[in-house]
């Protein structure tokens, strides 16, 4: 349906009774969809609803021709809908209306009882409002008074701005009539229009009818009407009759409350900024969900909308989502953490993250150093003193001097001992507060694989990242293991950036480790790389003295110097030799002397008899097994064994 081109704002006479409606309509026409959506205009008939709707339509199309404007009365809408459904083109009908940018619907009061139209309209309104397109409706009564209409639709209709147009007051009536006369080129004697204006017409249409009558009378009669003739000319109109009785000044005016309500509505609409309402909505929602909304409440204190308020709202939502995720993870680790305050306050997101990290780390702390390895029990000599001095420096100032410290050397020279000793010292130095992760690369990798299987990599990672120091033994094992190196790389970076101490042990130099990624190699080499060599003579002497002292045998100086002269590749070998000697002495039932030692260690050059079988076995066992538990020392005699087999 076409909008009547005669309906324009410039020929709509504005008075106190319709000022608000016109202002709202203008605002809507200036920026469709941005303010008062939907706009609902109501008034009794003949007061200008249709004119106002037409004016909106004409104004919009004059400004933006590309916009699709649809003016339709509700009856037409219903008819179109029925026709569309009857011809099976319901979908096309919907699509057609969904393309409309400004939808003007007249005579909404006919919605009463039309269920399917209501449903369709509700859907359409939702779609249009959702995409910021303008809806203007008019009716002869406010939405709440249209009988038998779906409650949801009523709230939709009332959601924007509801304005009414009242009966024009005296001045407006005069203005309307003057405008009409001008339009038609008619001139009355002064006072005639005023006389007509004194009549209380219920609406403008009737007023116009009366004016037409005067115009006709004047043009046809060829005689100018005088003011006092007006009542005679209009004599048979009821309004003209009623005017005769003087209106009592105190008679209550109709609808005072209604117009008060309209005023309040416009004041509220004017003063409650929509952005604040949106923020308030968000606050109400998130408060209801149990989240603290201080951040948003501060926003409400602003007198002007901050330019980024929408993104702030979105950001708030995102933070809450993050908090939810954190809380869920934390609850999985420790049920008691669920509902913790930090998970309810977006301003404490960082705290929540820390809390989760702690929870993850605390649930299963990374392996610590073994208490069996102490710094006191570690003998120092020139072959390992550089490493030991570096270790002592680290303990004095963790993370400050050599981080990472990379210790390499052949197997059995004490790297593990020193590593664990550093760990223990770090723990002791902090009064037990430091979380020192001391782990072999093999275990590190096994844990990672397990975490990958369980899908708990995050937690595993957090454990190591929360450590105050990371000490990894046998780091050569990570060579060629891509994923482990990847994880180690990240843990390394995270700890290193926080100034945490890192120590690695390996049997080779970083550059000799085939399959070690360059990024790790360069990082290992970035700290201090020290070597621990096979024990030299001085260290050997110290070690022999110490290990023999631990037995019942007090070694003489010649024995010590004899033993120290013999080269040993590692501390482990020295321990093995001590064990052999002690066993030999026990077997011989003699104290451990130089000659016993010679006989045991250099049988060829010694005159002593060949050791008895058990001793040989022990010697062999020392070489191959090193572990007492894995060797059967006592064999039962052959006959008993035979009996066992027969049984």
């Amino acid at each position: 349906m076409q909008v009547d081109p005669r309906h324009r704002f410039d020929n709509f006479v504005v008075g106190s009774a319709n000022r608000l409606a016109v202002a709202a309509a203008r605002a809507v026409a200036e920026s469709p969809g941005a303010v008062y959506n939907p706009l609902f205009i109501y008034s009794s008939s003949g007061l200008g609803k249709t004119h106002l709707m037409g004016a909106i339509g004409n104004h919009v199309s004059g400004r933006a021709e590309s916009l699709d404007i649809e003016y339709v009365s509700l009856d037409d809408f219903v008819e179109q809908l029925h026709a569309a459904i009857a011809s099976g083109e319901g979908e096309r009908f919907k699509q057609r209306y969904q393309r409309v940018d400004v939808l003007l619907i007249d005579d909404m009061q006919f919605l009463t009882g039309r269920r399917e139209t209501q449903t369709e309209l509700l859907r359409l309104l939702n779609a249009m409002q959702g995409s910021g397109r303008q809806i203007v409706m008019s009716s002869d009564r406010p939405p709440a008074e249209i009988a038998d209409v779906d409650e949801r639709l009523i709230t939709r209709l009332s959601g924007g701005l509801i304005v009414d147009i009242g009966t024009p007051d005296f001045e407006t009536r005069i203005a309307i009539m003057r405008a009409k006369c001008e339009e038609r080129g008619v001139k009355f004697w002064p006072g005639v229009i005023e006389e007509l204006g004194r009549l209380e017409f219920r609406n403008v249409r009737e007023l116009q009818g009366a004016l037409n009558r005067l115009i006709a009378f004047q043009t046809l009669g060829g005689e100018q009407i005088r003011p006092e003739d007006v009542l005679t000319v209009l004599g048979d109109l009821p309004e003209a009759r009623s005017v005769a009785r003087e209106e009592s000044p105190g008679a209550p005016k109709e609808n005072e409350f209604q117009s008060f309500l309209t005023d309040v509505a416009s004041a509220v609409a004017q003063h409650v900024e929509s952005w604040k309402a949106r923020v308030a909505e968000a606050i109400a929602y998130w408060t209801g969900e149990g989240y603290r909304t201080t951040q948003l409440e501060r926003l409400l204190q602003e007198s002007a909308p901050p330019t980024n308020w929408e993104s702030l709202l979105r950001g708030f939502g995102a933070t809450v989502e993050r908090l939810k995720a954190l809380e869920q993870q934390a609850t999985e680790v420790d049920g008691a953490l669920g509902g913790d305050d930090v998970f309810r306050d977006p301003e404490r997101l960082r705290e929540a993250e820390v809390l989760l990290d702690r929870a993850l780390a605390g649930a299963t702390p990374p392996p610590g150093p073994s208490a069996a390895f102490t710094r006191q029990g570690f003998e120092v000599s020139s072959s390992n003193q550089l490493a030991v001095r570096a270790a002592d420096d680290i303990v004095a100032a963790p993370g400050k001097r050599y981080s990472p410290l990379f210790i390499h050397g052949p197997s059995g020279v004490g790297k593990t001992h020193l590593l664990n000793a550093i760990g223990n010292e770090l723990v002791d130095g902090s009064g037990g507060a430091s979380a020192v992760a001391c782990v072999s690369a093999q275990l590190f990798m096994d844990e990672l694989i397990e975490a990958l299987q369980d899908g708990t990599v995050e937690r595993w990672r957090a454990r190591y990242r929360s450590a105050d120091a990371l000490l990894i033994d046998d780091v050569q094992f990570v060579a060629g293991k891509e994923r482990t190196q990847e994880e180690l790389f990240h843990v390394f970076n995270s700890l290193h950036s926080e100034g945490k101490q890192l120590v690695f042990c390996s049997d080779r130099l970083p550059r000799e480790l085939d399959g070690l990624e360059d990024r790790l190699r360069s990082r290992f080499e970035g700290g201090l790389v020290v070597e621990m060599q096979s024990p030299d003579r001085a260290l050997r002497e110290k070690l022999y003295a110490r290990y023999l002292a631990a037995t019942e045998h007090e070694p003489g100086p010649e024995l010590l110097s004899y033993l120290a002269e013999r080269s040993a590749a590692s501390v482990r070998e020295i321990i093995g030799i001590v064990n052999r000697l002690v066993a030999a002495a026990d077997v011989a039932g003699a104290p451990l002397t130089l000659s016993v030692a010679r006989a045991e260690l250099d049988p060829d050059s010694s005159a002593a008899a060949r050791p008895t079988t058990p001793v040989v076995a022990r010697a062999a066992a020392d070489t191959f097994f090193l572990d007492d538990e894995k060797v059967v020392w006592e064999w039962t005699d052959a006959s008993t064994r035979m009996m066992e087999e027969l049984k």
Partner: protein
Amino acid sequence: MSLVNYATREITCKIVYYGPGRSGKTTNLHYIYGQVPEERKGKMVSLATQTDRTLFFDFLPLDLGTISGFTTKFQLYTVPGQVYYQTTRKLVLQGADGVVFVADSQARQLEENIESFQDLHANLAEQGIDARGVPLVIQYNKQDLPRELILTPNELNDALNFRGVPEFGADALHGPGVFETLRSISELVLKRLSQPTR
């Protein structure tokens, strides 16, 4: 008392009708009550003495329904005008978002008007409120009485309206001026919505 609660999407305005005894405050409320459509009528609470003077206060809740998404409620109160109900007046005045001062236009009541107007300011000051910041309108009631008995709004303005707040002549018994007054104070009060929340 907060005027607008964004969280619950409620707007609550407390408007107090203040003035000397017998100036027509309760009459104002009665007239408004009479205009409220049946379905919106709450219960008007009036605690009157046997001689029909307001003993404690009148309370008229006006539920204006949902406006721009806000549940809007107006609460209209009157204070007892008689001098000796000072305590009740103070209580009622607490948390008022706006005040309507209903003056008696009768010439012989001028002193009472001035006294009551000063009392209003004193009570506000006692509550630590700067009277200049409180939305206020003045109503010169009983303008329907014979000319010789009353002062004109202009004369009353000289005596009372030194701040130049909106003023209305009224005939509360029959209605003229009642809604104009209410509308004006509502507008002033609602204007505060766009100011930073207190």
